[in-house]
């Protein structure tokens, strides 16, 4: 048992180091080189990695542990964003109260929606969450325009009250979100030879929050509560006949994951103080489902991997165009080059959604445990090969 704790500890430390050194890790190619476009170490994208990581970690607490598939979680992210922007408008540009309100508001919404939706299970639960989320999206888009900004979205303005802050900066601009004087958009560039690494305050703030969220998720997974959630997924009948009321367990999981979504929404608004209804659409909920499953539902690290994977593809992979492909395959004879480019082209660049869809199907069909399971399989295959290699040599080492 203590061993298990140790692996979790290692996992947390690895995730922590990777996130803190992300500006280096994600910028492996020197500035101006042909490969520089695959650098993902710019603040905007790095922020998205960790924010969607938080979203997926939270979704996984519901889906991965209890098996309840919600198709409406983006709605909680959306209300979280709105709440944060309102806080910026009314109170101050400090991100802390904004994020707290995001989490609280998302928690209240998920309490209400979860309370109703969890009266049904299976596909009916999925449809109920979908219906609620679509309703919220439709309302945010139309009649709630005074609160949500409707089609244009909710934005800051020069005449916002901001009781504990200034409506305008001395230069007459809208102030930017910050943390006790540190502005979220501030960055510091480190130039090392032909490499440029950007350290952004907003990113590090989000990264800290994500590491904390990840830590909390580990605690939940390993707690008696987490055990009960896995028991819900495994056999509800046995739960009931063991004197356990499944409803509050699933509701608590739903609210916790809704609050994670709200946190992600609040962070999103803190990085870019603007909130739009499209964040709540059901396809946005579908995206977090994709992330969680692709990475590995029910595993700790899976959702983070899935979120990073999808966001990387969305932003980097999608930039590859046919010219770049031709450059890559220029060493081939012309006919073959054209042929290979023609085959690859539909799957890259703007066609990355196609690749994503195929990949997702493959994962559901062959790798229900997602990328994490894939990694485990490769590892055990390598170990098997190693031990097979050893045996013919007369080695007596036991295969571990």
């Amino acid at each position: 048992m203590f061993k298990l704790e140790k692996t979790d500890q290692t996992l947390l430390i690895v995730v922590g180091i990777l996130t803190l050194f992300a500006p280096f890790i994600l910028n492996p190619f020197p500035e101006g080189s042909a490969m520089a476009q695959f650098n993902a170490g710019y603040p905007d994208l790095m922020q998205r990695f960790v924010i969607f990581g938080i979203f997926a970690i939270g979704f996984n607490i519901l889906f991965g542990l209890t098996g309840y598939l919600s198709f409406g979680h983006a709605a909680f992210l959306g209300v979280g964003s709105y709440a944060a922007v309102w806080m910026f408008k009314l109170l101050s540009m400090n991100v802390i109260p904004a994020i707290i309100l995001s989490v609280v508001v998302a928690g209240l919404f998920s309490l209400l929606i979860g309370f109703i939706s969890l009266r049904r299970s299976g596909i009916y639960f999925s449809i109920l969450t979908l219906a609620f989320a679509q309703m919220m999206f439709a309302l945010a888009y139309s009649v709630l325009t005074p609160i949500t900004g409707g089609e244009t979205g909710l934005q800051l303005a020069l005449d916002d009250p901001r009781i504990f802050g200034a409506s305008q900066t001395p230069e007459g601009n809208i102030p930017v979100p910050g943390l006790f004087g540190l502005e979220m958009r501030d960055s510091f560039d480190l130039v090392m030879g032909s490499w440029v690494f950007t350290f952004n305050i907003g990113y590090y703030f989000c990264a800290m929050v994500m590491i904390a969220s990840f830590y909390l998720a580990i605690r939940i997974f390993r707690s008696p509560f987490g055990l009960m959630l896995r028991a819900v997924k495994s056999n509800q009948q046995r739960m009931n006949y063991t004197g356990l009321n499944t409803r509050p367990y699933t509701l608590a999981a739903f609210v916790i994951s809704g609050m994670y979504a709200g946190l992600a929404g609040g962070l999103m608004a803190s990085m870019d103080p603007l909130a739009g209804a499209e964040r709540m659409q059901w396809t946005a909920s579908g995206e977090v489902v994709l992330m969680t499953i692709l990475g590995g539902a029910g595993t700790l690290i899976g959702p983070v991997l899935g979120a990073g994977f999808i966001k990387y593809f969305e932003n980097i992979f999608s930039k590859i165009n046919s010219t770049i492909l031709h450059e890559w395959f220029a060493f081939l004879p012309d006919g073959l080059e054209d042929f290979i480019v023609a085959i690859l082209y539909p799957f890259i660049g703007k066609g990355w959604h196609l690749t994503l869809g195929i990949l997702f199907m493959m994962v559901v069909i062959f790798l229900p445990g997602g990328l994490v399971e894939g990694g485990q399989r490769i590892r055990s295959w390598l170990q098997k090969r190693k031990s097979e290699k050893n045996t013919p040599n007369g080695s007596t080492e036991p295969a571990e």
Binding site: S126, L130, Y141, S142
Partner: protein
């Protein structure tokens, strides 16, 4: 009174589309026990069958018409569709004009083939997997299908008009004794409604009066027993999937003049169709049809100015609201059977 009739009529065409998609969806669920999130994509593929046919029919080659010149005095290049060469100009133009109805004939084999390939190649392997897995894999398939369509046809809607003869509107009010111009209804929507009724009737008749249909209905009620009788139920279910795909596809073909097809129309309709199926009762064919029309008409009533004035935004959410209320008060939907998808 006239306003009410107008709203009912307005609700019918959307309701027809809901009913057709939901019918196929619930047919697949009832027979195969599979929750198919790719069903909206089948509707979309149907619509693109119409686009494809209309493109095939207008395939042209360029000739130089010596008799006409452009403003510079050069001989004019004219595109001549191949159908003109084959059928003559007049008949050729009629054929091009009638591309959408003709696409029905084109879509039926295509959609059945798509459905059968889908069932044999993918869905078959998911019969025994949990519903969540079925939702996920078909959701992935839907993304793949819509991206393929987007790759070939682009992201913009493609206007695909109805034949000239059906353009314009019909003064329904005047025909039943109201003042003229009160209840105007486009011809194509009337056609769509009758077409949908025909298809729905056809499916029901097929299930009711043929031996094949009887076996399928028996299979819907109790799959294992029918299997024990030595009837190859799997093969029939494959065909059923093809038929469900064709129904969704035809709904898409005929819908093109009402809404120009785009690659994500499937996803847009999918959510609503699922809501329709759930309201009607998972696995209930009459339930799906009833709920389809009911929700279509309700939606149209909710868009009336008088209603919106009382409850703002109701038109946007009415369908979801009804679905939530029905699911909570009648978990089996309007006409669902006992024991279907209950845990």
């Amino acid at each position: 009174m006239d306003a009410i009739i107008l709203q009912i009529l307005n609700g019918l065409d959307k309701g027809s589309a809901y009913a057709l998609i939901a019918l196929g969806l619930t047919l697949i669920f009832g027979t195969l026990g599979v929750v198919n999130f790719a069903h909206g994509a089948l509707f979309m593929i149907g619509a693109f069958c119409a686009v494809t046919l209309s493109r095939i029919l207008t395939l042209s080659h360029t000739i130089i018409d010596e008799t006409k010149t452009d403003f510079l005095g050069n001989p004019l290049k004219v595109d001549v569709p191949y159908v003109h060469d084959i059928f003559g100009v007049a008949a050729g133009n009629v054929i091009i004009d009638w591309a959408v109805p003709l696409a029905i004939l084109f879509a039926i084999p295509v959609m059945i083939a798509v459905g059968v390939i889908m069932e044999r190649g993918l869905i078959k392997h998911f019969y025994k997997r949990p519903h969540a897995d079925q939702i996920l894999v078909t959701f992935g398939l839907a993304i793949v299908l819509q991206e393929v369509i987007k790759y070939f046809y682009g992201a913009n809607p493609i206007p695909t008009p109805a034949p000239e003869a059906f353009k314009g509107s019909f003064d329904f009010g005047a025909a039943v004794g109201f003042d003229p111009n009160l209840i105007i209804y486009p011809y194509w929507r009337i056609i769509y409604f009758f077409f949908a009724t025909l298809i729905i009737g056809g499916v029901f008749a097929f299930l009711q009066f043929t031996t094949f249909g009887m076996v399928v209905r028996a299979g819907m009620a109790d799959r294992e027993t029918v299997g024990l009788l030595g009837i190859n139920i799997d093969k029939r279910f494959t065909i059923m999937f093809g038929i469900a795909a064709a129904v969704a596809g035809l709904a898409g073909v005929m819908y093109t003049p009402i809404n120009s097809p785009n690659y994500h129309m499937g996803m847009d309709f999918l959510v609503l169709s699922f809501v329709v199926v759930v309201v009607g009762g998972m696995g209930s064919l009459p339930g799906a049809v009833l709920a389809g029309f009911l929700l279509g008409v309700l939606e149209s009533f909710a868009s009336m100015r008088e209603v919106i004035d009382i409850i703002p935004g109701i038109n946007q959410i009415i369908i979801y609201l009804v679905a939530i209320i029905i699911l909570l008060t009648r978990p089996r939907g309007l006409m669902g059977r006992k024991g279907v998808m209950e845990d």
